[in-house]
């Protein structure tokens, strides 16, 4: 056989190629972007060190991956591998990634990490991937103008201090009657899709565009465009972004409502405490007045009393309410805030309002305004509907007897009359509310509808 010498150059070439590729692989694996940022930080620390001890500590800083493991949030955040100074106020005003993160006292990093609020890809250690701006990562970092949306993952929208946009979004959601067609939290209509996880599925850009012109993004959508200012569209987008349906563990869910006096006040009204107790001289006489209860009783006693009244006053007739711990804290906070103020200021519960006011509340609750207009003025387009291709106003209720109004509401109008009999079915129809609305609510709603008709003399 011929000599193998003719293969020697191939052997050398292939051997070198394998060696070179192994080195290239090693280089790619070893020299990572975050190590540079860590060296920068360590150098920065050394230059800022004033005392010998600090200098020694700075010199001892290693270059190593950092991560916050958050089993309760089902995530691992490695953001602090590069963002090393988030907890050091001395770095306020520094450029990223070495900037200080203000306002984190109530959300300590070891409990919350970063991505639960900011989104992005916590496990990643390369910039673009970590910020989630890569293919196949569905949650890129949330723009700061939408950051309040993340509050809603744990907190009820109306309770969070310092999140006015979220509260505004929630209010718009109610005012616009979105719930008439969409379900949120298991309540609402069936004409549109459920919104419980919409924030996890849709991007802010999609949502904002969709609000302005739904048909452009969803062919055949019967949702009316939102005719509001850009600021309102953003607020509503932000509220939607907060609806991610994320399953959080108890620690985080217990913060769903911040146990402050506002929540306590709502609970106080809902549970009908005023039926037995009085505040500011108004209310029931069965139980003791509560104006000064926090002066008479220790905070500890009040909390125990809420958990189980009989445990601290065996003779009591007060029933045991199954309050959650945050609710108990909220009620205690509310009692502590009482200073003999006029109880009527917070006693505006629906049962004391007029039937028309209560009916208005029912109108909002079921999202009627989503189709019939915020004040029953109608006008939402409904293609090929006989009523001028739009949903009728409710100011014409005067011509209709109560019994018909009732049947419209309870049974709905599944087949609205067509403008062109050969044309397609109008996309929006009146759903049946019979199985949802109570008799009292129905009566109140009709009172409200009657109040919308113009008075005989032409004035409403």
């Amino acid at each position: 056989m011929d000599s193998l010498k003719k293969f020697y150059p191939w052997f050398a070439l292939l051997g070198l190629a394998v060696g070179g590729l192994v080195l290239a692989g090693y280089y790619k694996d070893e020299f990572r972007e975050w190590k540079r940022w860590q060296r920068d930080y360590n150098a920065q620390e050394l230059s800022r060190a004033a005392t010998p001890e600090q200098k020694e500590a700075a010199r001892a800083l290693a270059v190593e991956l950092k991560q916050i493991v958050l089993p309760g949030l089902q995530r691992v955040d490695r953001c602090t591998t590069c963002h090393l100074a988030v907890e050091d106020p001395g770095y306020a005003g520094y450029k990223q990634p070495l900037a200080y993160h203000p306002n984190h006292a109530q959300h300590p990093f070891e409990k919350f990490g970063c991505t639960i609020c900011h989104q992005g890809q916590g496990r990643a250690t390369e910039r673009e991937a970590a910020h989630g701006r890569v293919a196949h990562w569905e949650h890129p970092m949330l723009a700061m103008k939408y950051i309040e949306a993340s509050c809603a993952k744990c907190h009820a929208a109306t309770d969070v201090p310092r999140s006015p946009l979220l509260a505004r979004g929630r209010a718009l959601f109610d005012e616009q009657g979105c719930i008439g067609c969409h379900k949120l939290g298991g309540f609402g209509g069936n004409l549109g899709p459920e919104l419980d996880k919409v924030g996890a599925k849709r991007s802010p850009e999609w949502l904002a565009k969709h609000f302005k012109s739904p048909e452009e993004l969803v062919t055949g959508s019967s949702m009316p465009p939102l005719k509001r200012s850009d600021a309102d569209v953003e607020a509503l987008t932000l509220f939607m972004l907060g609806q991610t349906g994320e399953q959080l563990t108890e620690y985080y869910v217990s913060m769903k409502s911040i146990p402050g006096p506002e929540l306590g006040q709502r609970l106080f009204a809902q549970k009908g405490c005023i039926g037995c107790h009085s505040v500011g001289g108004k209310g029931g006489k069965v139980g003791p007045p509560l104006d000064d209860v926090t002066k008479r009783r220790a905070a500890d006693w009040i909390v125990k009393h809420f958990r189980d009244p009989a445990s601290v006053s065996p003779e009591t007739v007060m029933p045991k309410y199954n309050f959650t711990e945050p609710e108990i804290r909220a009620l205690a906070a509310f009692l502590g805030s009482l200073t003999g103020a006029d109880v009527s200021a917070f006693m505006k519960i629906p049962s004391q309002a007029s039937p028309i006011e209560r009916g208005r509340a029912v109108y909002l609750k079921f999202g009627c305004g989503g189709c019939h207009g915020a004040d029953g003025e109608g006008g939402v387009p409904n293609r090929n509907a006989k009523a001028h291709q739009q949903i009728p106003a409710l100011t014409a209720a005067n011509d209709v007897a109560d019994v018909f109004l009732e049947s419209f509401i309870t049974e709905g109008i599944p087949d609205p009359a067509k403008l062109d009999p050969n044309g397609p079915k109008p996309p929006i129809y009146m759903p049946a509310f019979g199985d949802k609305i109570s008799e009292g609510e129905l009566a109140d709603l009709i009172s409200y509808l009657r109040s919308l008709q113009p008075a005989p003399n032409g004035k409403p």
């Binding site: 191939w10 052997f11 394998v18 692989g25 496990r123 990562w137 993004l217």
Partner: protein
């Protein structure tokens, strides 16, 4: 170079060296053959090997490359196993950790991925090579069947591994792939259920595919590979053209009398490795075969490493049973079948694959003529070559269509047209 050899010789000559290698670096042909026979790793080879088998053009090295890829897959696979938990809660996160924080994790995963794809390709090409050179002809019929088994094993190994990253690609490829299995009459749905451990891809599917992928199928593959290589030796080495046997010729022409008793030993007919091998056509496997194998291994490594350093294995979004991509595609090597299922579920999912498999297994028993062994596209085998080529071309065309020309709802798209982005 010289001094390196001397160091080696010195070491091999010591007590320790001798105890390990048993023989020193061979200097004579006898020593070379001893080296092959007495070494555990080398004794799989014959001590001497035919020149025809050594020519690259005879085999294109495809069988060996497949074996090398299998070895790379075993080694990188075991490395990946250290960082992987086969559970939907962890699998995807594990992939992210392998990518971002495990040392050399991404390279290992890339090597595993690209080797797996390359292995499917090489095993297929190896099969084509064996067909086109008539390598399945007697006495190698059974080894062809073992080879068909190894081809199926390669596909199933790759397919079970496909699910493990638990991303959208994995989830829906396996959903589509097992749906194809479900089209079989009577047993289809049962097989699908057995594979998935349920009616849809879920927790138990992942565990099943994992166990199949890391234990059962590799063990079976190792067994089949051993059997395959054993039969290569026992069937008389790689197939090659018949050579006139001088002794037999002499007997037939009456030049050599057969009445002598020694003739019984000399004139054995048939397929024993000794028959027809003329000493001058063979060379010692050491170094001629071993060195070529080493070169081929280096070449395989260059390709795998090159792909792995410069192209990352894909990882899509976390598997979401509620959001099928449109279209959901099976792994590429099944896209030919998926394309067929688009026309007829029965033909694509059942009839065609079953017929192909039966045809492949029956092939050596149907085509029994000895002519054309060891020759590419032998003239005598024109019909067989044409039929096989039609099947291969059809499979390639269908696979290419399924891979590059099918878009949403399995509609036709041009690969260069911008893909319709579904906004969300």
């Amino acid at each position: 170079m010289k001094s390196l050899k001397q160091i080696w010789l010195k070491f091999a000559g010591t007590r320790v060296g001798q105890s390990i290698f048993r023989v020193g670096l061979p200097e004579s042909n006898l020593g070379r053959m001893q080296a092959m026979v007495s070494s555990f790793l080398l004794h799989l080879h014959p001590a001497k090997v035919h020149r025809h088998s050594l020519q690259f053009s005879s085999t294109l090295g495809l069988g060996l490359i497949s074996l090398y890829l299998f070895l790379i897959l075993c080694i990188t696979g075991v490395a990946l196993m250290f960082f992987y938990v086969p559970h939907p809660d962890h699998a995807y996160d594990n992939m992210k950790d392998i990518e971002f924080v495990v040392s050399a994790g991404m390279i290992a995963r890339n090597m595993h991925r690209w080797s797996a794809h390359l292995m499917v390709l090489c095993v297929f090409l190896h099969m084509c090579r064996v067909f086109y050179t008539g390598g399945y002809k007697p006495p190698r019929e059974f080894n062809w069947i073992v080879g068909v088994g190894l081809f199926v094993m390669t596909l199933v190994l790759s397919f079970t591994g496909y699910l493990l990253p638990w991303d959208q690609l994995a989830f829906w490829a396996i959903t589509v792939g097992t749906n194809i299995a479900g089209y079989a009459p009577v047993v289809g749905k049962k097989i699908q259920f057995l594979l998935l451990g349920g009616n849809i891809v879920g927790e138990s599917s992942l565990l099943r595919f994992y166990v199949l992928h890391v234990i059962l199928l590799p063990a079976a593959a190792v067994f089949l590979i051993a059997l395959h290589l054993w039969r290569v030796r026992k069937d008389g080495g790689l197939s090659r053209p018949d050579e006139p046997d001088v002794l037999v010729q002499q007997v037939e022409t009456g030049q050599l009398a057969t009445s002598k008793t020694y003739g019984l030993m000399e004139l054995a007919r048939g397929t024993s490795p000794a028959v027809g091998l003329k000493p001058e056509d063979e060379v010692p496997a050491w170094p001629h075969l071993v060195f070529r194998e080493l070169l081929l291994f280096l070449a395989t490594m260059v390709v795998v490493m090159f792909l792995s350093v410069f192209w990352n294995a894909p990882l899509e979004a976390l598997a979401n049973p509620a959001h099928p991509p449109n279209p959901a595609k099976a792994p590429w090597y099944f896209l030919g079948l998926q394309e067929l299922t688009a026309y007829s579920a029965f033909w694509g999912g059942v009839a065609v694959p079953a017929l192909l498999l039966v045809a492949l297994v029956a092939l050596p028993y149907l085509d029994r003529k000895r002519a054309g062994v060891g020759v590419w596209f032998a003239r005598e085998r024109r019909v067989a070559v044409t039929l096989f080529t039609i099947c291969v071309v059809a499979a390639v065309i269908l696979t290419v269509i399924g891979t590059y020309f099918r878009g949403p709802n399995w509609g036709w798209v041009w690969p260069w047209a911008a893909s319709a982005v579904i906004p969300h």
